[in-house]
């Protein structure tokens, strides 16, 4: 990972990536919440109150879980990095 300032190209790359991932997350969230909240019975075109509330909660929960998993993955990858570092150190140092 580059330390210090990011070049303009790198910054643009990061921004584009973030945008793409946000869009992807949004699409997945939409799919899941439709599956959970909108039954496949189409009697009327408008959303019922229950469905509207369900969508509200579904989105809130999805975003919260998205954050929690993000933190978890960060911890896991940090642990992974620490383990890899330890492995490397033990490999480089001759056993006594």
């Amino acid at each position: 990972m580059a330390t210090g300032e990011l070049s303009e190209a790198q910054l643009k790359l990061a921004t584009d990536l973030e945008l793409e991932m946000m869009a992807d997350m949004y699409n997945r969230m939409t799919n899941v919440c439709q599956k959970k909240c909108i039954p496949a019975k189409y009697k009327e075109p408008d959303l019922s109150k229950g469905e509207a509330v369900c969508i509200d909660r579904c989105v809130a929960k999805y975003l919260e879980i998205h954050d929690r998993i993000g933190k978890k993955l960060t911890t896991l990858s940090q642990q992974d990095e620490a383990t890899m570092k330890k492995l490397q150190e033990t490999q480089m140092a001759p056993p006594k």
Binding site: Q10, L13, L17, E20, M21, D24, M25, R28, M29, N31, V32, K35, K36, C37, V53, C54, D56, R57, C58, A60, K61, Y62, E64, I65, H66, R68, I69, G70, K72, L73, L76
Partner: protein, 86 residues
């Protein structure tokens, strides 16, 4: 940098996929706005399992690819043998 970007992108896609799958499997009660303890535990275990699953799948995939390559190489180096590689 391109390689790094690709890795990052793959990781982020995995992250999104993980969120979608675990949400779908663990959350089925929309009676509250907040995430319950049971759901939280389920999500935590789901995430661990998914990561382990992904690692194992990659491992097996690479193994299988190597095996296929080896078979193809063997078939090339011994042209007398006829046979199809399934």
């Amino acid at each position: 940098m391109n390689d790094n970007t690709r890795n990052m992108r793959d990781f982020l896609l995995l992250y999104n996929q993980l969120t979608e799958q675990c949400f779908d499997r663990c959350v089925y009660n929309m009676s509250r706005n907040s995430v319950s303890n049971r759901e939280n535990d389920c999500i935590s275990m789901c995430a661990d399992r998914y990561v382990a699953f992904n690692q194992k799948t990659m491992h097996v995939f690479v193994e299988y690819q190597n095996m296929k390559q080896q078979v193809a190489l063997n078939a090339q180096s011994s042209p007398g043998t006829s046979g199809t590689v399934a």
